[in-house]
């Protein structure tokens, strides 16, 4: 008797736990996503995790339900702890360090087969265009993650306040000396005309050099001296070297330190994060900054909104005596979309990516789809809303967009352009009709003005030869990295003199750097 009651109870409990799954469409798989996104501005009623067009498009294409394991603007700590705890959602996007940790632990699903099944979708197209990125995620010939594709032609160039130049009757700088002179003029000659000595020549990133060729790094100056900070570089003699210990860095630091000493660059750069930099720029205190194209539709657009007199010009500077500008490309991969080996439908995960990108790129979309897309563009909703926003491209978009604007300005026609490029140009037309609609203004800056500069033929790009994590790096990279950051900042601030750099190089090799260089050399040699 007792047993019957018990089993009846058990059956009831079971029934109730199973019920909800029956109620829904039982066939649809549920994918759980570790989500890190942001909504700059979503239209009324749209949210990051319950309803938005990207989410709907992805769910429809992949025929699945999506749930979010977490939803954080910055999930790096969450990922680190989840990985440490040996747990992960079906899919998430991680950086190099976490990718290696997951790989080492054998927590990742092999995506080779499901990818091959989708070879003829846009996903195949993407990696056919960027084979280097694809190879970065291969382990013994098996695909262990979907890597991002690099943003080519996204190198920093020099942005200069054109209205200040005009006011002071100066010309755009070309050489390093021009740059220095211009900074001095911007600091000393009160270009904003408020009678106060409050303008900054140039802003510099907290760590002097940036990681992924980001804004405000001094990479272009180092490149002029033949050094490529924070990048593994293959020298002509076939030997690998870590860019930050190259002799050219010494020259760069010495120069920047002198500029700092003479008050030409932001006094407080060592304490400033991107937020303060943006604030300084938008409030009209900065005249020169190294930055990428996206600066155009962000900070520069906001500066213009704040002060309609302000205009910026992107320019290649510093040039060497032959008029060449040097820069280095980003590593082919910086983030990975990884699928848990416990995920039952890895193919569905890939379908989510295809679905969201088809909508993003406006491929096979009907009128309704296009209208929705326009709605997001007008609202300023960005790709950060995508449920899985691993950055993918099919062609170097910088060139595609530049050519689109060029065609439009030359011929006035948008014939043959991609649906997305047509949207960009439509936004520009909106601005021409109504000059408070600054979206198009910023896009033109980012895509056309910057595009013209970055696609010029007097640029030489250096490419990284390695971007992974070696065995010794796992133990010593963190400490080598903080040593590097600290020494460089101190040299620039004048707390240490330039001989500290020589000491740094010695310490760097002695504390694991030599071993790591050897490992990288071996890897590159195959």
């Amino acid at each position: 008797m007792k047993r019957t009651v018990l089993s009846l109870l058990l059956a009831l409990v079971l029934l109730f736990t199973v019920m909800p799954t029956f109620a829904e469409d039982a066939e649809k798989p549920v994918i759980s996503i570790g989500f890190s996104g942001s909504a700059a501005s979503l239209p009324e009623g749209h949210t990051l995790d319950t309803y938005n067009y990207y989410l709907e498009a992805a769910k429809e294409y992949a025929n699945c339900e999506i749930e979010f394991a977490w939803n954080l603007e910055n999930d790096s700590q969450k990922v680190a702890l989840a990985v440490a705890n040996g747990e992960m959602p079906d899919v998430m996007i991680v950086d190099q360090a976490n990718y290696v940790a997951l790989l080492d632990s054998g927590m990742l699903a092999d995506l080779t087969d499901v990818f091959e099944e989708r070879q003829d979708t846009i996903l195949g197209e993407v990696y056919a265009a960027f084979p280097e990125s694809f190879e970065a995620a291969l382990v013994k010939g098996r695909l262990m993650a979907l890597p991002n594709t690099p943003q080519q032609y996204e190198n920093p160039v020099l942005w200069v306040r054109q209205d200040w130049l005009d006011k002071l009757n100066l010309e755009l700088p070309k050489t390093l000396d021009d740059l220095e002179e211009l900074m001095r003029a911007f600091v000393e000659q009160d270009p904003d005309g408020n009678g106060e000595n409050d303008t900054i020549g140039m802003t510099v990133i907290q760590t002097v050099f940036s990681d992924y060729n980001f804004n405000n790094g001094m990479e272009s100056i180092a490149a002029l001296f033949g050094a490529y900070p924070r990048m593994w570089y293959m020298q002509d003699n076939g030997e690998v070297i870590y860019g930050s210990v190259m002799p050219g860095i010494r020259d760069t630091l010495e120069l920047v330190a002198r500029w700092y000493q003479e008050g030409l660059i932001d006094k407080e750069f060592a304490n400033h994060t991107d937020t303060q930099f943006t604030e300084q720029m938008v409030s009209g205190k900065v005249g020169i900054a190294f930055g990428r194209g996206a600066l155009g539709c962000n900070q520069i657009q906001n500066t213009h909104a704040n002060d309609p007199e302000s205009y910026w010009t992107p320019v290649l500077c510093p040039l060497d005596e032959n008029g060449i500008y040097y820069s280095h490309t980003r590593t082919p991969v910086s983030s990975y979309l990884v699928v848990s080996k416990d995920c039952k439908n890895p193919g569905t995960v890939l379908d989510i990516v295809i679905g969201e990108y088809k909508w993003h790129w406006m491929i096979d979309q009907d009128e309704v789809g296009l209208a929705k897309r326009k709605e997001y563009d007008v609202a300023g909703t960005l790709w950060g809303v995508m449920p899985l926003h691993i950055q993918l491209e099919r062609v170097p978009i910088a060139i595609e967009r530049y050519n689109a604007f060029k065609q439009y300005f030359e011929t006035g026609s948008v014939e043959g352009l991609s649906a997305q490029c047509k949207q960009f140009i439509a936004a520009w037309e909106d601005y021409v009709a109504d000059n408070t609609k600054l979206t198009g203004w910023g896009w033109r800056y980012m895509m056309y003005d910057y595009g013209a500069v970055i696609t010029a033929d007097n640029i030489e790009f250096a490419n990284p030869c390695y971007w992974g994590t070696t065995e010794t790096m796992k133990d010593s990279w963190a400490s080598l990295r903080s040593m590097e950051e600290e020494v460089f900042v101190k040299i620039v601030m004048g707390e240490s003199d330039i001989t500290a750099f020589d000491q740094f190089v010695e310490d760097w090799y002695a504390n694991g750097g030599a071993k790591i260089t050897e490992e990288v050399q071996q890897f590159v040699a195959g």
């Binding site: 440490a84 040996g86 060592a270």
Partner: protein, 295 residues
């Protein structure tokens, strides 16, 4: 009587011990991570045992030495000032004639104790910024602007000062209450002996405060290693690692930003030992100096 009801004491302790076992003792097994090459999927039990590798690693790291040095120096300076300033100030406050001013000052000075470093970081940065108030004041007095927050010469001083600024009010109130509790007869006796105001402070007030000073000292010894993280983390930058990087900030960077779980755990373990030494010392000191058993 006590024997008969002893079971009730046990019962009361059950929930307390349960929470401590789950959330304090269970994680202790994680210390093993410090001795293995920890791989998440393999878990604590199956990861490869590497013995003291990470400890040797730590010893060989160039920054380890200065992390320990910074941790200990900052801790000790905070402890010393944390006693001296509030004791001095409470005596000062006690000497105030006006009850109204006394009460107002008392109320205001310990507000900062209740604010978190997250909140305080912004105004502190404003005050010490290059264009901030302190620099404006320096210039007005004829000095030159200084980058306080990225200077190794000043940063530790700022840490100690702002910490003292935040906590001195709290200490002051405690000491002041102790002073108020001193038997007035002692002062009267001193007055009859012709003691001056200063002499009364030295020979009556201070000796009577001994017990409370020791207790507060013990409290700060136990807390000081943990109290540093929030403050340093919210104020520092690579430029001042040399003087400001402490064990906790290092553990955070290595463990959570660089995912070196084993190294970070090894460092935590070392910190636990330093912490233990401090707490045991303080208990010993308070027994010795004030005949007061804390535990």
């Amino acid at each position: 009587m006590y024997r008969k009801y002893e079971y009730q004491y046990y019962l009361m302790l059950v929930p307390v011990l349960a929470f401590l076992l789950v959330f304090h003792i269970a994680p202790l097994f994680g210390i093993v991570i410090a001795f293995e090459r920890f791989l998440p999927a393999k878990g604590i039990i199956q990861s490869e045992w590497v013995g003291l590798k990470y400890f040797r690693n730590l010893v060989s790291l160039p920054e380890s030495w200065r992390i320990f040095r910074n941790t200990v120096i900052i801790a000790i300076e905070k402890i010393i000032l944390g006693i001296v300033v509030p004791v001095f100030f409470s005596i000062l406050l006690n000497e105030l004639r006006s009850v109204h001013i006394k009460r107002t000052v008392q109320t205001i000075i310990y507000i900062p104790h209740f604010l978190s470093w997250v909140v305080l970081a912004a105004p502190i940065m404003n005050i010490f910024a290059y264009n901030g108030m302190l620099n404006n004041l320096t210039v007005w007095l004829g000095g030159e602007r200084t980058l306080f927050l990225s200077s190794n010469r000043y940063f530790r001083g700022i840490l100690i000062f702002t910490n003292e600024w935040k906590e001195f009010g709290f200490g002051t109130i405690v000491y002041l209450a102790a002073i108020t509790g001193i038997n007035p007869n002692l002062y009267e006796a001193a007055e009859i002996d012709g003691a001056s105001r200063l002499q009364k402070i030295i020979y009556v007030t201070l000796p009577c405060m001994r017990a409370i000073i020791v207790l507060m000292l013990t409290r700060s010894l136990g807390n000081v290693l943990n109290a540093g993280f929030d403050q340093v983390f919210n104020l520092y930058s690579p430029a001042v690692y040399e003087t400001a990087d402490i064990i906790d900030t290092y553990v955070y960077r290595v463990g959570l930003l660089d995912l070196n779980y084993s190294l970070s755990t090894a460092m935590s373990l070392i910190k636990s030992f330093i912490g233990m030494t401090m707490i045991l010392t303080s208990n010993y000191l308070s027994l010795k100096l004030a005949d007061y058993r804390v535990f």
